[in-house]
Symmetry: C2
Subunit: 224 residues, 2 copies
C-alpha cells in the first residue's frame, strides 16, 4: 500500500475526471511503477478544471502527472518513470543488453506507438463527427496497425518486452489500453490482447488503478 501522506515522493494527480478517461489519466503509470517497486508516495490532488495558481511552473501544459521527490520536481510521465526506475533495478536493469532493450522499448512506446494513439484518441473522442476525422479514421487505423505489428512480433515469444517486466511494459501496456479504448486494434490481435491482460493481472496495476479511482470516487462533484 504505497500511498503514505508523509512520503518524500509526492505525485500530482486529478481529484476527479469524467468516467470515459478513468484508468487512462497518466498518473496511473507512476502509481503502477511505485507499486511494482514498493515505493511509498503521497498524493497531491488538483482540480482538472481549476488548476492551482502558478501550476504552469510545475507542469508547462498544466497537465498531470508531476512528481516531487524531496526538493526536486519532475514532469512528463516518461521522465517520472525513468526517475522511479533508477531507484529499483527490477524496473530498469543497470547495464547491458537488458538495459538497452528496456530503454529502447520504453522510448518506442513514447515516440513510435503513442503518437498514433494520441491522434486516434483525438479523432475518436475530441474531434468525433467532424468531417476530416471520419475521413482520416481508415488510414489512421491502418498506420497504427502497422506500428503495432513489431510489438506483437516481439511479444509472440516472450511475456514482457525486455525479459523481465520493466518500465517499458508499464508504458507500452498503458499506451495499448488507450488504443483499446478507441478501436478494436488490441482486442483483434490475440498476442497484444493477452499482453494487456497480463499487465492488468498484476497486483501492482490493480492497486494503482484502485487508488486512482478511489480519488475520483471520493471527489465526485455533486452535480454529476
Amino acid at each position: 500500500m504505497p500511498i503514505d501522506p508523509n512520503a518524500p515522493l509526492v505525485l500530482t494527480a486529478y481529484r476527479w475526471v469524467p468516467s470515459f478517461v478513468h484508468g487512462l489519466v497518466r498518473d496511473v503509470r507512476v502509481r503502477w511503477a511505485c507499486e511494482e517497486a514498493g515505493l511509498a508516495y503521497a498524493e497531491d490532488l488538483i482540480d482538472v478544471r481549476h488548476k492551482p495558481d502558478g501550476y504552469e511552473a510545475v507542469q508547462p501544459w498544466k497537465q498531470v502527472p508531476a512528481l516531487r521527490d524531496g526538493d526536486v520536481r519532475y514532469f512528463e510521465s516518461g521522465a517520472i518513470l525513468l526517475h522511479i526506475a533508477e531507484k529499483d533495478a527490477r524496473l530498469l536493469p543497470p547495464a547491458g543488453q537488458a538495459r538497452a532493450d528496456t530503454m529502447s522499448w520504453f522510448i518506442a512506446a513514447l515516440n513510435s506507438v503513442d503518437p498514433g494513439a494520441i491522434e486516434l484518441n483525438n479523432v475518436n473522442f475530441f474531434s468525433r463527427g467532424q468531417d476530416w476525422a471520419e475521413q482520416r479514421m481508415p488510414s489512421l487505423i491502418e498506420g497504427l496497425a502497422k506500428k503495432l505489428e513489431p510489438v506483437a512480433h516481439r511479444l509472440a515469444q516472450r511475456d514482457w518486452l525486455a525479459g523481465e517486466f520493466s518500465i517499458a511494459d508499464v508504458l507500452m501496456i498503458h499506451v495499448l489500453m488507450a488504443i483499446d479504448s478507441a478501436s478494436d486494434l488490441i482486442s483483434s490481435q490475440p498476442t497484444l490482447a493477452a499482453y494487456v491482460e497480463r499487465g492488468k493481472a498484476r497486483p501492482a496495476w490493480q492497486q494503482a488503478l484502485a487508488d486512482q479511482l478511489a480519488a475520483f470516487e471520493r471527489n465526485t462533484p455533486k452535480e454529476n
Copy 2:
C-alpha cells in the same frame, strides 16, 4: 571529427535519402550528441529502399537510427541519446534539479511536442492533397501552436531548456526543425526561431549535419 571506422560506437544511418528530408533523418540527432560529447563513432550505412535481411531484429520498424556500442544494441533516437548522454555529464547532469529539468524537457520533446510534429509532417508531406488533410490543417496548427507556447515561455528567459545545453535541446531543436519544414510556426515565433538558430550555430550541429549530408552526397543514385 568523431567519425572513426574503428570506434566501438556504430551508428546505423541511411546511405542516401531524397533532399526534402536532408537534415531531418533522426541519425543526425545521434551524430550531434556524439559531436557535443567528443565521442567517436563509426557509420553503418544501409539502403533506405532495400533494408538488409533481418534488419527488423535491429530496428523493429526497419527505420534509422540504431546504435551498437560494443556488443550492445539500441534503437530509437531517444534511447540512443540517453545512452550517449550517460557517458558525458555535459549532456545530462548526474543529479538534482538540473537532471530533472533535462529529463522532463527531453521527454516533453518526445511525447508532448513530437506527436504533433509527426502528424503535421504526415498531413503536409505524405497525405497532401487528400481532403481530410486539407480540412485537418487549421486545427492541427492551432493545437501545435498551443503546445509550443510553454516551450517559448521557458526559453524567453534562458538560452537552453535546462540551464546548460543538454540532450533536451538536441531533441527539442530537432523536433522544431521538423515543424519548421512544414509550417511557419517557428519562423513566426521569434523566441523559438532564435532558439533553433542558436542550435544551428553550434559547431557540433554543423559537423553532424555535414556528416549526414556527406554520406548522401557520396551515395546519390545515378538516376537522380
